[in-house]
Symmetry: C2
Subunit: 144 residues, 2 copies
Amino acid sequence: MTMPSETAVKTWINLARAYGTAMTEINEALAANGLPPLIWYDILLELERAGDDGLRPYELEHALLLKQYRVSRLVDRIARDGYLRRQSCDDDRRGKRLVITDEGRALRRSMWQIYGAKIHALVGHKLSDAQSRKLAALLAELTG
Amino acid sequence: MTMPSETAVKTWINLARAYGTAMTEINEALAANGLPPLIWYDILLELERAGDDGLRPYELEHALLLKQYRVSRLVDRIARDGYLRRQSCDDDRRGKRLVITDEGRALRRSMWQIYGAKIHALVGHKLSDAQSRKLAALLAELTG
DNA sequence: TCCTTTTAGATGCAATTGCATGTAAATATG
DNA sequence: CATATTTACATGCAATTGCATCTAAAAGGA
């Protein structure tokens, strides 16, 4: 149970603050434009990248580090609003395949207008490209 | 509506991932030890630092960037469990003063055993002191 | 094959969050 | 002073999350 250095604490505090303020701004901007929360974007992007076969819910769960029940509920709502459809799965009758719809692709693009602009304003605009690369590399060390 | 560079996007993704995985680990470790969520720690720490006069709810709101109603409910629960008390406020009869109790100080220390160890494992242990300082400085650029 | 274990996903119910609004006191304005 | 506005905090209600559990199907073993 080694306790952290002052430096480590300061770094963690700054990380939490940077993430929290950015995420709040992003979600507020999405809501202000009548768009759903950011997690919908992440899901739609994964499905769009997955192509015509879509993804299984458990694949989404692992890709986005979400709890199983949360995927289940989010997928419910996104499907209810017509942005994805659940296909039955040939080779595993327990499972579903989640496939993005045209409306889903359009929603993802709409969300990107807001989200992308915020990433630019909150990250791209505040650091040089070199600083940003350095920051990305240091953050990658934490995850790895 | 300038769109972000690839670098900025990569940096934001890494930031979100680093925060998300760390926060999940911290809250899971707290829960595994029968302790409340991290936000209780933040509140108790603010109150402990504030000293005998405590803080007004709106001060907590600003210090921790929380919504007013969320402060109200969190304070309810923390008070219900005896970790803070609400004093009436002499100079403003609308207001309350929130003061940490001895039990609250003890809880904060218990939480720190877990939280601090995680900060060390997740940040301190993965970067040199110089890298950590660099990371803290770059993150501070984002907030400022 | 029959039985046990594991995996995929859904869901009932409690706790928490978010939104909108309410109440009361402080402050500003005429 | 009288009235309007703002500030501090609480709360009813809907949406979301978290936990535990359930069903069904797949996989593994005797």
